[in-house]
């Protein structure tokens, strides 16, 4: 490192250096200079000075950056989440969550919209996110990283896993095709059987005040999920709102807690 600084900088490095120190560039990136020329202090400041990079610590033990230790799976989960957010926003420009339009909008997104692979990337990205979250959990278990002091972050992780599955599940309905409506029918019908809260669940008959039934086909857990007795337009709207706003909002809060706790619990786990 020291040797390189002693050498006379080449023409590209000189240009880079002066770009890095340009008044405007300096005002945006506080550290200045050309990143490849940074000395140790600048490298640390570069991470600390940047709101995105400072999610990281400045220094790490060697094993923590090895792919064979973390498999990058937590990072990959987060990355796929970002990809899904971006492609999801793009899809929202073209998609209307009504029984009249939903299906045809899907067809149009595939056929009419230029560079139309947003739907593909969103769908395959969703598969990838579920997969990577599972595998992340698998890795965390196998390295024993849920042990003290990281117990609570594991719990947060399980919540993230649940939310990820719910996100994927609510999105499943939106294409409004046969696959969608029947998968959601199978899924939400289970709500009918919730103990006490579903009208076909054990204990439902007990939920009664005098002659007034509290739990019946038009007032039970499945009804709340579907906003009706069958999967219909009201269900579509409900799932759309949850999928595009409700669940992403909640998952982002838990992700913030998760990342914060990774740092506060002493960074990536390792042997002591």
């Amino acid at each position: 490192m020291r040797k390189r600084q002693a050498k006379r900088p080449g023409i590209f490095q000189q240009i880079g250096q002066s770009v890095g120190n340009n008044v405007i560039v300096r005002s945006i990136f506080r550290t200045g200079g050309l990143p490849v020329n940074w000395d140790r202090r600048q490298r640390m400041m570069g991470v600390l000075n940047n709101v995105f990079l400072h999610l990281h610590p400045v220094r790490l033990p060697k094993h923590a950056v090895k792919v064979k230790y973390t498999w990058c799976m937590g990072g990959l989960s987060f990355f796929t989440f970002l990809v899904l957010t971006i492609t999801g926003i793009l899809l929202m420009f073209y998609y209307r969550p009504t029984a009249e339009h939903a299906y045809m909008d899907m067809v149009d997104i595939g056929e009419q919209v230029p560079l139309g692979i947003m739907r593909e990337i969103h769908r395959w990205g969703a598969h990838l996110m579920v997969l990577s979250v599972w595998l992340h959990m698998f890795r965390v278990f196998m390295t024993g990283s849920y042990k003290p002091p990281r117990e609570f972050n594991w719990v947060v992780g399980v919540i993230l896993l649940t939310l990820t599955l719910l996100l994927s599940f609510t999105g499943y309905l939106l294409p409004w095709d046969q696959l969608a409506i029947w998968a959601i029918t199978v899924g939400t019908n289970m709500g009918r059987a919730s103990p006490f809260l579903g009208y076909e669940g054990p204990g439902a008959t007990l939920m009664q005040i005098g002659d007034v039934k509290l739990v019946h086909p038009a007032a039970d857990a499945a009804f709340v999920l579907k906003a009706g007795r069958f999967v219909g337009e009201a269900t579509l709207l409900r799932f759309y709102v949850l999928h595009c706003i409700g669940l992403p909002f909640i998952i982002m809060i838990f992700m913030a807690v998760h990342f914060w706790r990774v740092r506060k619990d002493g960074g990536i786990s390792g042997p002591t």
């Binding site: 990058c72 196998m142 103990p195």
Partner: protein, 375 residues
Amino acid sequence: MDFIKDVINRVTDPTISFTFLLAVFFVIFPPNNLLLRLNRKLGLDKLWTDAGAIIFFGLLTIFMIFGVTSDETFRTVITKPDNVPIVLLLYIVPFLLWVCMKQGLANDARTLNNEKPEEYSDPDDLDSQILVWPDLIYVELIALVLCSVVLIVWGVLLKAPLEEPANIADSPNPSKAPWYFLGLQEMLVYFDPWLAGVVFPTLIIVGLMAIPYIDLNKKGNGYYSFAERKAEISIFLFGWLGLWVYMVILGTFLRGPNWNFFGPFEKWDVHKVLVLNNINLSELFWVKIGNQALPQNILLRELPGFVVVGAYLLIMPALLAKTVLKSYVDKLGLVRYSVFVILLLSMAALPIKMYLRWTLNLKYLIAIPEYFLNV
């Protein structure tokens, strides 16, 4: 050729494949020293060597190529765009398992020699620390670019499927849940929806959350290992791989119309009929064995079921506490032990119910359809 296919169709049936899995699982991932010795005697730790991996993935690939080139049904199911993640799963999960176990066994050997695990670096030694810029940022950048490329290529190659417009009057057969919920749908074969769709999912989530509070073993924190955490790893892997991932694969590839089982080389025939004459424990007890009519009184009728379920949930924990799990009671204390054993028994309830179904054609242990209470 047809003979091979026929054999494969037969052995993939859950009655055989799951029994096989059950038989080998705890020898491959031994939860105690006895099974560990058996594992070593059989040389099963060789699975986690490079040669083991090459042989395993070689065989898997040969099987896939054989199936795809020689069989129409196999090809249709495997190449369905939405099944890509599960085909990926078939490769990634064993590979990552191998990565874990290989590093774990290496660390176990180091521990035996009183060495620190491979991951260890001295916190006071500045040279063993690296800077996030640029070392981690590079790794992240490469991972990010690779993933983007994979996703874009995947998106260009495979169009996102869109079926016929939604029609609530016309239900497809089979109608499958999304792949990550196929485990729940598979449980519906053996349990009523209130258990398979509500209680068990809740228990899975709660059970996962409880892991760090139940597992008091301090060892194996922050590095791969096996010997130091045999039982934990064995139990977790059984639930995750042996039940969940197994059922996802089964549900995706081997469940066809009417949720009947179809071997990988068997045509999905809508008219395949399986004779089902499942009976409830009450009938088995009063009618078949006792040779009398079912009692009128519901509680009396279902008494055998209550006794069996009650014994399973109340007496079994006590029994285990006195025998196999004795050391756990001392280690965990009563409260933790109770939570642990109830979660464990709930997990074991699934395979138990599977075998009761396969051997005795048992439908419900407790059957009170009047109150929707079927167990």
